[in-house]
């Protein structure tokens, strides 16, 4: 997709091309292994969800016992898919925005392999019943320092690239990525020390683990998704971001409210009372950055609805940002005190987490992947149909999750709060909701099988050799991206 907002500057194109070439191996590996983990984690999620309404499902395999497979599902999704997708996006985007080639791609590739091995080890240990036993941080305790070391090796080069960038304006995506890069070790080291290294009060250990889970989303996955959206929306539409001031405001409001999130999972526990309610308050205030970013991005792409329909990256990114606004609005409703009473121990929390991790982060990540992969492999996506199925089945799946888990969870919670109802009422409602959630995972599995297959084909260099990008609408007479559709594929550029 051409950058129609700048004149084709051959030196610039050569630089971009060389940046893409320098990091093609680590980034493609991260995306491909991430996609495989995504499929695996969805399969595990399907099994976990099925066991909640059909407890006899697959009991012959003890390593698939319900509690263990659910913990394995979430861990695989966060550390297998989410983290690797985020790393790939960070590495490519920071290199491009700082206009620096990647000088350590061999080291990063090696560290990415180790990351995969460590995550696999952790997931297997969980399924063997040898996890840590700490909810939200189920990997055994020795996994965390290994992950932190791999993380440092993978991402420190991006921090260096930022600091040695050419003088000039810093784009808002760079602030988001930089913040995410620093926030992750801050929360991870704190959580690892307090939960595993030190002897603390059992309640506060549970609290810190919940805080880690909450801030992992608001301070790592969300900034990476938003940084990617702020890059792609103007890039693909060819227009500048609607308002730079709103962009900065959105960033700083996330920085102010984000770190307080997480402990709302422990309302009513005998910990200092302000802790869970501070978490709930921050989740309510997440609406503010959601509206700021949503308004900004939507105003940037509005009037270009054909582009949103045609460009896979823009379509996924726009959907992710719209879902972020939905997330913010739902968050306000779900974290008020009367709603918390109902939803705290129901399906709602799980559905809301999935909306965030898949609906917001993963959709934005898919948008970035659909943009980045053609540039680093110098091939175009093979099948418009695969992309469409990926998109629509993802939307169906996420809507099912929102309707069944989030809304159903309210009725489930109401069933247990209403003292005139026996326990069985809540159990029946939970079982019905469970079917809906299992169906949602089935849609998402279908969607991501195609995504994974498509991505692996691109990794195997089997993509289309073309300078026309793969657009979703074949009926457009001319490419909206200019004549010939500039893909940075100069045959004259030397390696």
């Amino acid at each position: 997709m051409a950058e129609t907002n700048s004149t084709p500057d051959s030196e610039d194109v050569v630089l971009r091309s060389s940046i893409d070439r320098s990091l093609r191996h680590p980034v493609m590996f991260l995306f491909a292994s991430g996609a495989l983990w995504l499929v695996l984690s969805i399969v595990l999620g399907l099994v976990a969800s099925a066991k909640k309404h059909n407890p006899e499902f697959l009991t012959c395999f003890s390593w698939l016992d319900a509690g263990k497979v659910d913990a394995a599902h979430m861990s695989a999704m966060i550390y297998g898919w989410g983290s690797q997708a985020a790393f790939g996006i960070i590495i490519w985007l920071m290199a491009r925005l700082s206009r620096k080639e990647c000088t350590a791609s061999g080291v990063i590739l090696w560290a990415a392999h180790v990351w995969n091995a460590v995550v696999l080890y952790g997931v297997i240990r969980i399924m063997m019943g040898e996890g840590s036993g700490v909810t939200y941080m189920e990997f055994p305790s020795e996994v965390w320092p290994l992950l932190l070391v791999c993380y440092t090796i993978i991402t420190i080069w991006s921090l260096i690239q930022f600091q040695v960038r050419d003088a000039g304006h810093v784009y808002v995506s760079q602030w988001y990525l930089l913040a995410g890069l620093l926030w992750f070790p801050w929360i991870a080291v704190t959580a690892w020390v307090f939960v595993f290294l030190m002897d603390g009060h059992p309640l506060m250990i549970a609290g810190v683990a919940a805080w880690f889970k909450g801030t992992l989303f608001t301070l790592f996955f969300l900034p990476v998704a938003l940084g990617s959206a702020y890059y792609l929306a103007p890039k693909v539409t060819g227009r500048p971001v609607y308002s730079y001031n709103i962009a900065l405001f959105g960033f700083w409001s996330l920085a102010v409210f984000g770190p307080w999130a997480g402990m709302q999972k422990l309302v009513g526990a005998p910990i200092p009372q302000f802790l869970p309610y501070a978490g709930a308050a921050s989740m309510i205030l997440i609406l503010i950055p959601a509206i700021a970013v949503g308004y900004n991005i939507i105003k940037t792409v509005i009037g270009n609805s054909e582009l949103v329909a045609e460009s896979p990256s823009l379509r996924f990114t726009a959907a992710g940002i719209v879902l972020f606004v939905v997330f913010g609005a739902l968050s306000v409703f779900l974290h008020t005190v009367p709603a918390l009473k109902l939803t705290q121990f129901s399906y709602t929390g799980y559905g809301f987490d999935v909306l965030g991790l898949y609906g917001v982060f993963s959709l934005c990540a898919f948008g970035a992947i659909y943009f980045i992969v053609p540039r680093i492999t110098r091939r175009e996506w093979l099948s418009r149909r695969f992309i469409k199925w990926h998109f629509f089945c993802s939307l169906y799946g996420i809507s099912s999750v929102v309707i069944c888990a989030v809304a159903g969870g309210l009725s489930q919670g109401q069933g247990i709060e209403d003292l005139s109802q026996p326990f069985g009422t809540m159990a029946e409602r939970a079982s019905q909701i469970g079917w809906g959630v299992t169906l949602a995972w089935a849609f998402l599995l279908f969607a991501n099988l195609f995504f994974c297959l498509h991505l692996l084909l691109m990794w195997a260099r089997l993509g289309r050799r073309s300078s026309h990008p793969t657009l979703l609408d074949a009926h457009h007479p001319t490419s909206p991206h200019g004549p010939e559709g500039e893909v940075d594929n100069y045959s004259s550029a030397s390696a």
């Binding site: 006899e56 016992d65 509690g67 019943g129 036993g133 909810t135 309640l203 250990i205 301070l219 978490g279």
Partner: protein, 252 residues
């Protein structure tokens, strides 16, 4: 915005919640002074709720098996939920077989000896704070020949096969076979060859000469489950922690 301003802003916006939410509460709760019984109490010294069983190990296994996914262990104060009033979750109600209402909300000392408090994620199954208390009470009332550990082990092996005891709010005792949504935990049991009576195996019949033996992990977990008694029976609360004190008796 310069890099320096950015870093200072980031450090400040992260550092303040880091201190207030994580470091200070964690450090304070680590160094809580023991609560002592007041002068009016018949007990003296520090209040340490008695917990009997393989707590530390069982708690770790409880977390590893993922029980905290479907079961909570927190009786919330009424501003946060109705748990105290739901059945026998918070303790035993006063009835023909129970002299005194022993229900109470969860306090910080309830999780002593455990590595992490299993507050729980969702309530697919009932809250387990007073599971041991309920189980003992119901088994006694129904004159069952099973011990609480045996019942727990049977439940872990096959939740649908073991009678569940439901006490509706009227206080009537009934035995029902419940459609339990708890999945069987086959990994906690071994199939062993049995010649003759088979000591220590579960009373299930799955074939000639085969018995089901609980593993050590299953026994530790059962011991932990049976130890879950977080009410005031035998552990009266000191005044400082008692948010529901009895009205003072008039002097005779």
């Amino acid at each position: 915005m310069t890099f320096k301003a950015f870093i200072i802003g980031l450090l400040a916006t992260f550092g303040i919640p880091w201190l207030l939410l994580v470091v200070v509460p964690y450090s304070t709760m680590r160094s809580l002074d023991p609560v002592e019984y007041g002068k009016n109490s018949e007990f003296t010294g520090a209040f340490v709720p008695k917990r009997d069983g393989r707590i530390k190990e069982g708690s770790r296994i409880f977390g590893q098996e993922g029980c905290a996914l479907c079961h909570t262990q927190v009786i919330r104060p009424t501003y946060a939920g109705n748990d105290v009033h739901r059945g026998e979750w918070a303790g035993l109600r006063k009835s023909s077989s129970v002299d005194e209402d022993t229900r109470r909300e969860t306090i910080a000392q309830d999780f002593q000896q455990e590595d992490v408090a299993h507050i729980g994620q969702t309530r697919v199954g009932p809250d387990l704070s007073n599971f041991g208390r309920r189980l003992e009470h119901y088994l006694k009332l129904n004159k069952s020949s099973r011990t609480p550990e045996q019942w727990s082990l049977m439940h872990l092996y096959n939740p649908k096969a073991v009678p569940r005891y439901e006490v509706p709010e009227t206080g009537a005792q009934i035995i029902t076979a419940w459609k339990s949504a708890c999945p069987p935990k086959s990994g906690l049991f071994d199939e062993v060859q049995v010649n003759g009576a088979g000591h220590g195996n579960l009373p299930v019949d799955i074939g000639e000469g085969i018995g089901i033996r609980p593993t050590d992990r299953a026994r530790a977990l059962a011991s932990y489950l049976v130890s879950l008694k977080k009410d005031t029976l035998g552990n009266p609360l000191p005044d400082a922690l008692n948010f529901n004190p009895k009205a003072p008796q008039s002097e005779e």
